[in-house]
Every structure is written in C-alpha cells, then in structure tokens.
C-alpha cells in the first residue's frame, strides 16, 4: 500500500512538472523549451509525417504574424472562441489573435474565430496566428517547431528532408527566464528523486519481512526458482497491477479531464515504475540469496 501511495506521489509530481512546463510554454509564446527554431530558404511543400507537431512560420521582421501548420490533433493554447469552429477542419482560412494584437495584421480571407485567453503571456497577447491549408514559403523563411513528444529534430528531418535548414539558437522568454521558476522545477525533480529513494527503501523493508517465509520454503525443499516465483507473484504482481491501474487512470485523466500539451509525464511515470520493478526484482533476488546462504539452514 505504501508503495502505491508513493507511486501516486511520484506521478503527481511528474504531472505538476509538466503542468508548470505548459504554463512556461504559454508565457513563452507557446514555444516549449525543447522547441527548435530554424531557417529554410527553399521549400515548396512539407513532407507528410505521422508525428504530432505545431509549426510556426514567420518573417523575422514581423514575428508577431505567424502562419501555423498543425499536424494531427494538437492542443492549442486557451482560446476564447467568438465563432464555434472546428480547428481541425481546414476548408477555410481562419485566425486566432491576441487581445492586444493589431486587427490590421489579419490578412483578407482569414476569419477571426477567437482570442487567446492567456492573460500572463505578453507574447501571445500581441500575436496573430493564421491557420490555413496552403503552405507558402513566402509567408516567412523562419520556422519554430514544437512537438508534444519532444522529437522535433527527427520531425524536421522528415518534413524538410529535401531542403537545407540552418538552426537558430534562440533564447527563451516569459516565465522560463525567472530563476525562481527554474528552481521550482529543480525542487520537483529533487522530490521525485527523494520519492524514488523512499520507494526503494519501502521495497527493502517489505521484502526483508519475507526472509522467514523464504527460509521456511527453503527448508521445506523448494528450489530457488520456486521461491522466486512465489515471492514474485505475491509481492510484485499486485504492485504491477496497481501501477498499471494508476497509468490507465492517468491516461484517462490526460485524455478526457485535463489534457496537457505533453504526454511525457506519463512516459516518465512508466519509466519510473519500470525502474522500481527492476529494483524490486534485484532486492527479491538478493533477499533470497542472502537468506538461503545463511548458516543454520538445512535443505532436506
């Protein structure tokens, strides 16, 4: 039970970390810390890919006007819609603008469907996002790509495979620049490490309680394999099942209740649960080996 409680704390911390990242991303003009900015001078069309991404295309002289390419379903920043419109239906050109943006910056043929509801993002508040089906290099030669799975580099290689691109090392803005904000992420990471250590400690304590049982089984004549299988089945299987339940609940939470930009917090949780399972396996093995090799035991 304690293991599951700390698993929940761990996944809660990972979610908090992703949530803060999303706030920072909105304050940074919806550019994640892993986003990549690059320049392409000659491209006629974007090659298709199965990866999810949002691509900003703009003229560096007028960075507030951005042409947006959305690949597959992408979560957009909070928007107050003025027209009920399906963003994924690209039969019409439409625009989303910031509350401080210039209306004159919206070209003819684009319908304003809503305003960014991002009161803390001075960048989004002054931007104009133009979303259309047609890609035209004349809209701007500078691009920024953002991918929820943080695989921006491989997406660029697929989408711009026939073009030469030059990376631009840009600086982050908004709350990313606040030292206190970065320290908070560090606090959360340290808490995750601490929780991981406690999970290992709980596992050691929990498994060490089984040493008498292991000795009895050994004295009874069970082979190491059988002992391992028995201990594994009543310690690890419940843990694995409850962890799987937590992951399923997280997936439902992410899909239906509060979707975040990135799914990385779930993949990191799976990674941590996997590492704990691996640690438990090692601890069980060590416990069995040390218990059966202790003097005084006699195998019949």
């Amino acid at each position: 039970m304690a293991l599951v409680c700390f698993n929940l704390i761990c996944i809660g911390l990972l979610w908090a970390s992703s949530y803060i990242d999303e706030i920072n991303m909105i304050n940074n003009g919806y550019k994640d810390k892993s986003s990549i900015t690059f320049r392409v001078d000659n491209v006629t069309k974007l090659a298709p890919t199965r990866h999810k991404y949002i691509l900003f295309q703009y003229d560096p002289e007028m960075p507030k006007i951005k042409h947006i390419v959305l690949n597959r379903e992408i979560k957009l920043p909070p928007i107050t819609k003025i027209i009920d419109y399906d963003i994924n239906d690209l039969n019409q050109n439409f625009a989303i603008i910031g509350t401080e943006a210039e209306l004159n910056d919206v070209p003819e043929g684009y319908r304003i469907i809503g305003y960014f509801n991002t009161p803390n993002s001075y960048l989004l508040n002054s931007e104009v996002w133009l979303i259309s089906r047609n890609f035209d290099i004349n809209h701007g030669r500078e691009f920024t790509i953002n991918a929820p799975n943080h695989d921006e580099k491989s997406i660029i290689n697929q989408v711009f495979k026939d073009s030469q691109y030059n990376m631009i090392n840009t600086e982050q803005r908004g709350s990313y620049l606040l030292f206190s904000n970065r320290l908070l992420s560090l606090v959360i990471q340290l808490c995750i490490v601490l929780t991981f250590i406690i999970l290992v400690m709980i596992s050691i304590v929990r498994i060490s309680r089984e040493k008498y049982m292991i000795r009895v089984m050994h004295l009874y004549g069970c082979t190491v394999g059988t002992i391992f299988r028995i201990v594994f089945s009543y310690i690890l299987i419940p843990y694995l099942m409850l962890s799987a339940l937590i992951i399923i609940m997280s997936l439902l939470f992410q899909t239906y209740i509060h979707p975040l930009w990135s799914w990385v917090w779930i993949s990191q949780s799976i990674y941590i649960f996997g590492s704990i399972t691996f640690c438990i396996l090692i601890i069980i093995t060590m416990q069995i080996v040390t218990t059966i090799s202790q003097k005084g035991g006699k195998r019949f």
Partner: protein
C-alpha cells in the same frame, strides 16, 4: 559516538539510504529558501514598474527638419540641455535603454552574438582602418536601468558614476558582458570597439548573471545574455561642442545626443500632466521637435501579472513539496527506527533504559541532519554572491527543520516501542 557507529554498522545500506534522503531533504530546504528569496527579488524588480505609466520620447528630426536643426551652431548644446533637463526632472524618472549594435574588431565570440543573428540578416565582417569589424549586439544603459530591473552581476562591478560622463577625447569605455560571454572573455580583457563610428578601447569590468532582463520600449523583456552593455553616455552641462573632438567625430556626438533624448519616462503622472511637465522643459531648453508616445504599458503589465502568478504557483509548489518532503522523511525515519529495534533490545538487555534509547535516536537524527547541512551551506557560500543573509536564513531554517525531525524521530521511536512487547521479547 561509538554507539552511533554500532547502529550504523547494523544495516549499512539502509543507513546510507537514510543519510542520502537526509541530504536531499537538506538540499530541498536550501532550494526552497533560495527560491523564496529569489521570488521576492523578482517581484521587487517588476514592482518598480507597477501602476506606473511608461512614455517614450521620440524626436521629429528627419529629412528637412533634421538638416535645418543641425545647421544651427548650437544644435548639440540644445539637445544636451534638453537631455540633461529630462534626466534631472523630479516629476518623472528618465530611463535610457538604447539598442544600438557596436562594431568590435578581432571579436572572439561566435555568430549568435552578431546584432542581427536572430533575424537572419547578419552583416558580413568589414574592414575599417586596417581592422576587421563585426556588428555585435549592444545596449547602452543609464544607471537607473540597473536599479529598476534589479540587474545582478556574477562577477566584477557595475559602472561608476564617472563612467557615464563623456570627457573630451575620451578613449576608454568600461563594458559589462552578458552571461553568454563568460567563456569568451574574462575580466580585464580589452575590446577594440567602434561606437557610432568613434573608436574606443573597451575594458571588461563585469559579467551579468544568466537571464538578466530589462524592460525597454522595443522589447518589454529584453534578455541581456548575448549583449555588450556600455554606459549611456551623457555630456556635462558645461561641455563645449565646439572642439576638435566634435569636429572629428560629428556622427558620434549627434547620434549620442539623439539616442540620449529618445529615452523613456516612467511616472505615475497622467499623459496630460506629463505633457505639461514637458512643456516647461521645452520652454527652458528651446527644444520643441519631439513627441511623447505611450510605450508598451500593457505588455509590461502582463509581465508584472506573469511574475505575480509565478510567485503564487511557486508558493503552492513549495508548500506541496515541503509536505511531501516531511512525509517522505517521516516514513524513512520510521523504517530506520523499526530496523534498529533488535539492536535497541540488545541495549536494553545490556542495562540501558528506554529514555537512554530515545536520547540516542534523537541525537542520531540531529547529528545526521546537522552534518548533511554542511554540504548545501558550502554550496551556497561558494556559488551565490552576497549570500551571507541567505546563508543565515538557510541555517536557521535547517536548524528548525533538524529540531523538528529530532523531536519527530523520538516520538516515532516511542510509538515503535509501544507496539513492541519489550518484556515478552526480552524473555525470549
């Protein structure tokens, strides 16, 4: 001490994990203390701009007007009088944060320091006086820009008051470099700089801490990491603009004065009151070719709101983290005490009493927490400048946390012993 060593040897792996968790606990307290301190600095920094109006002065000197104005023999003196009156006004704060690239010869940095790197319009290196120059990002700042934005240095020193004054035939220019320069130049290095086509020898006197930002009329959150910061030069009221230096470098003087008058006004005054106040300066100085425009007040207000929201998130985060840390530490302590119950039983057989064991448990916790506090303290002392206040804060919070953990460990030990039927166990 011997008893601690015996207890430690009972379960080395488990005790090492306990020490590790105490170390992380202590690091977390450090980060929390630093974070609260930092958040106060950030809020303090934006609070200078809170509820203030920001105006920008823009000269109307272009085309014929410019030619006509500068055809007067005392044009530079008029501009200088106007600039100095603005700077000396008590009704508003005159704030100069001027974006103007400088040319640097034999520049050691890479392409990202170039003035137009981000817009893809980098200008090629060019030759002037047998030297090759590159256009590098630079900001010219008045002293109040550093104060208003709480700009901090990682090493070196700020400009002195004299550094802002231009003397006749001045050739040296102190420079403060952004944090990205820390691997490129070092304190005391000299840079050959062309500033408005006048040659200066720049001396590196300081480096900014990473991610220092300032509010400017062009960009409400200008990041200084890649910038060469030089003082916004001004000329004393008695400075004569009829000398050899001025005739040899007319562009430098004209551009310096124009950039000086195109600054920002920060005030609580309304646009009408500002206009009245500037009318008085117009009359006394004789300079009238300018207009006042409202600068990006909304963007600045958004940044203030963002910083305040960040503080709220931070405090919630700190509170939740602290609860988790205490919870986790209590669990780890509970396990450690339970693990040592067998040893405590042996101690009871050997003539010890329960109170003595509680004292050992408490002292052990206190000792571990005090020892692990040394590591973050050293870290704090060596890495953060002017950290004496912060260190005192950290040590007092750590002491409080250590005492709390000590008390809790004794209570946990008592609960553990209550659950164990000691007499029965001692009987065997």
């Amino acid at each position: 001490m011997k008893i601690f060593w015996i207890l430690f040897k009972q379960n080395i792996v488990f005790n090492i994990i306990s020490i590790l968790s105490a170390l992380i606990f202590s690091l977390l307290i450090l980060v929390l203390v630093v974070n609260v301190h930092q958040s106060k600095i950030e809020i303090d920094s934006v609070s200078h701009f809170k509820d203030k109006n920001l105006y920008k002065i823009s000269d109307n000197l272009y085309n014929e007007k410019e030619t006509e104005f500068f055809s007067k023999s005392d044009s530079n003196s008029i501009l200088n009088r106007f600039a100095n009156s603005l700077a000396n006004s008590s009704e508003f704060l005159y704030y100069n944060a001027n974006w103007q690239p400088v040319e640097v010869s034999a520049f050691k940095g890479d392409i990202q320091f170039d003035a137009y790197y981000e817009t893809g319009n980098n200008r090629a290196e060019y030759e002037y006086n047998n030297k090759k120059y590159r256009n590098i990002k630079s900001m010219q700042l008045s002293s109040n820009v550093f104060e208003m934005n709480n700009v901090t240095l990682s090493s070196g020193e700020f400009f002195s008051d004299n550094d802002y004054f231009y003397d006749e035939k001045r050739e040296d220019l102190p420079v403060i470099l952004g944090s990205d320069y820390s691997e490129v130049y070092k304190l005391g290095d000299r840079l050959d700089i062309l500033y408005y086509q006048k040659s200066f020898t720049g001396t590196v006197i300081g480096f900014l801490t990473p991610n220092q930002t300032i509010m400017t009329s062009l960009d409400p959150q200008l990041v200084l990491n890649r910038y060469i910061v030089i003082p916004a030069l001004f000329f004393d009221q008695s400075f004569s603009f009829h000398n050899e230096d001025v005739s040899a470098n007319p562009i430098f003087f004209k551009a310096s004065l124009l950039s000086r008058i195109n600054g920002n006004l920060i005030s609580e005054l309304s646009p009408l009151e500002i206009r009245n106040s500037l009318d008085a300066i117009k009359r006394t100085t004789g300079f009238t070719d300018f207009s006042v425009i409202g600068a990006k007040g909304t963007a600045i207000n958004t940044i203030i709101k963002m910083t305040e929201t960040n503080k709220s998130i931070l405090y919630i985060g700190i509170f939740v983290s602290f609860v988790i840390i205490v919870l986790v530490s209590l669990v780890s302590m509970l396990f450690a005490t339970r693990k040592n119950v067998d040893t405590y039983k042996v101690m009871l057989i050997s003539g010890s009493n329960e109170n003595h064991i509680y004292k050992i448990v408490g002292s052990q916790t206190l000792l571990i927490h005090l020892i692990v506090t040394i590591v973050p303290s050293l870290f704090l002392f060596s890495l953060i400048n002017n950290s004496f206040d912060l260190l005192t804060n950290y040590l007092s919070y750590s002491l409080f946390a250590s005492l709390f953990m000590t008390l809790t460990s004794v209570i946990i030990a008592k609960i553990c012993f209550m659950k164990v039927d000691i007499i029965q166990q001692l009987k065997g």
